[in-house]
Symmetry: C2
Subunit: 394 residues, 2 copies
């Protein structure tokens, strides 16, 4: 009755959503205040005041033209502002035409896949990875090639990458700051990766795109600045979202920015705009295009996230959990106390702790906690983590 | 460099957008007030006050939770209200679970295609048709089977339909009130179609879905009420949008409503929600879900559209154009004054008239004028139409 391929995919569906839904049940049973839900990256902090201020200004002005159709690539003034903002930190000059407003980064990535992929072509992703990538790739007949990162640092392993680039490699997805590890990929490794890609492009006479999925680019700690992908990779396409940085994930607003140095650029841009239209997004939501244009340099309160990270990281490592200290995003990715991360996460549920198994990110033996929750939730959950740790120390 | 299939598709791209873009050029050359742009269905009338009122109320209340993630199917309270609203006019009771909020009808249709289609399965569409259907179908490996309607009435031709239903027919798209003809399909013909579909389902032991694309359901004239598809077709899925009825096409808000009588309903609904997520829509834009929930019974000013239709229809028929009088939507679809509708539309450009050739809708020999423009634009354009008609009468 429905697509056979889909039925298979649904069987392998998202652990994140599964735990989120488990959480809804547990909360009904025990009361929301007694369930510690670290399953979803649903920012708890309010948007910056610039967002709420421009919402009020535009809505109260009764400018109704803002709700109408525009160019499928988005409002021209908005795209210009996005380009100008990117230009502040890159050596590659972008202008209006290089920006396509999208329904979030998820929409942007699907548009890129549809635009780039011929059947059977390969997209390389580094594990652990955001689980939805596999669907975005298979939606358009692509094949996901999964490469493990370094076990201690979660940095890309260039030897593994070199072995896996083929004549069918269409693109490499980079997600730094990374979901689920919180790791920021090092500039040194990325520059070596760029050299490797250039060598392979020559060897195979192909273009290999770097799709940089950057929703956490502004969510960094300890003054870490993520390396600029447009400066490092020639065939780079930035996919960004304001979901996390402005705390508005439900509004579905983001953009694609293409490197102005790419060859045959017009064809690529026309393809992206065409797919943005014909995949049924049509255009990014109109009002929120105008809103983000006034908040391009803003970010939700990072002091609050820093406090959460520090409390959670220190507490868990003190309990004996082994964990890389996140430099970005709002996730911890500690080792599970037994090898089987799924069994571990199911046991955690007995203590009303909602975690996501590393297996959900293509990585066994770890688990993800999302700390975009209140300090109170973190504080109250610590005794439950203590009990969980004690259970396995017995 | 980009997808080969895509390069082919882009060559067959939308006439509507092409004329819209031609218009931008002409307006730069002659001034906007001297170009009569009837190319795009971009509603000129403002949204009903209920829309602007609830926008102000929600935004000024500073409820920021409204911008966060929710269930991929949409806010539960919104889906309940949509179901209740549909229940007022149907005999098939719907509840929250039967409603999935989408990024407009274009998003909803893509979600349906991805959910339903196995490679090579067929979707039947009636010509003339909204040109984007072909892309929505091919995006997911489906094959569009195009059937002409009756030449005089533009009503579906059931004999043609009967010949074209095969064991591979997965669905039939119905778009009534129709873009581009403005015709409302008759209940009598639709009931006969339902019988035919049931017979064919038994013959082939398949389910054949009716996808009713209804963005113009509220845009009707002379008290015409479009037949209720849930009452007529058992395997029916409604795809709707608030773009036209509430005048907010840029905001990308609509829904899918599935008939509660469909067998294996849970599988279908789970598939639709999964595809809404994994195609990268994730969820329909959050704020506008809440907005439309307060305006479900509202519509933009139909008196204004009626005036436009009457003036335009009367004027063009008086000039000698042959045209079915629209009962819905905001398009006229007159015969072109020569057989070649593309040549005719290109000639019209000499008079600063921007029309869309019927060929863009899979129908030669006619052209579409969109009258969701100001009365002034219609009035001022009439001398240009006179000159165009005179040119061909010489």
């Amino acid at each position: 009755m429905i697509s056979n391929e889909l039925i298979k995919d649904m069987g392998n569906s998202s652990w994140i959503r599964r735990m989120f839904e488990e959480g809804v049940k547990l909360k009904q049973q025990f009361g929301a205040e007694n369930v510690y839900d670290f399953s979803l990256g649903n920012p708890e902090l309010p948007p910056p005041t610039s967002v709420t201020d421009s919402l009020k200004r535009i809505v109260n002005s009764e400018d109704v033209d803002v709700h109408r159709y525009m160019n499928n690539a988005g409002f021209t003034d908005v795209r210009k502002k996005v380009a100008d903002s990117i230009n502040k930190t890159t050596e590659v000059p972008l202008s209006t035409e290089h920006i396509i407003m999208t329904c979030g980064a998820a929409g942007g990535l699907n548009v890129c896949m549809k635009t780039l992929l011929n059947p059977g072509e390969e997209i390389i992703i580094f594990a652990p990875f955001f689980a939805e990538y596999r669907f975005y790739i298979s939606n358009f007949g692509g094949k996901a090639v999964i490469i493990p990162t370094n076990k201690e640092t979660f940095q890309p392993d260039l030897k593994e990458l070199e072995k896996n680039i083929t004549s069918k490699t269409k693109a490499i997805i980079i997600n730094s700051p990374n979901n689920p590890t919180g790791v920021v990929y090092s500039e040194c490794i990325l520059r070596k990766m760029a050299d490797l890609i250039e060598t392979k492009e020559k060897e195979f006479n192909t273009s290999i795109f770097v799709l940089s999925d950057e929703p956490y680019a502004k969510i960094t700690y300890d003054n870490v600045a993520p390396p600029n992908m447009l400066n490092i990779f020639k065939n780079s396409i930035i996919v960004n979202s304001f979901s996390k940085s402005l705390g508005i994930p439900g509004e579905r607003i983001g953009y694609i920015a293409v490197n102005s140095k790419i060859e045959n650029l017009d064809l690529l841009i026309n393809g992206l705009v065409f797919c943005n239209r014909t995949l049924g997004y049509v255009n990014a939501p109109a009002l929120f295009q105008k809103i983000i244009a006034n908040s391009l340099e803003d970010c939700i309160d990072m002091t609050a996230y820093t406090k959460r990270r520090d409390l959670f990281y220190t507490s868990l490592t003190n309990m004996g959990f082994s964990c890389v200290k996140p430099e970005g995003a709002f996730y911890l990715f500690p080792k599970s106390l037994i090898e089987d991360d799924v069994e571990f996460v199911l046991k955690a549920k007995d203590y009303n702790l909602l975690l996501v198994p590393g297996s959900g990110f293509g990585w066994k033996g770890n688990f993800r906690v999302s700390y975009c929750v209140s300090m109170e939730t973190i504080e109250n959950s610590l005794p439950a983590f203590e009990k969980l740790a004690a259970y396995y120390k017995k």
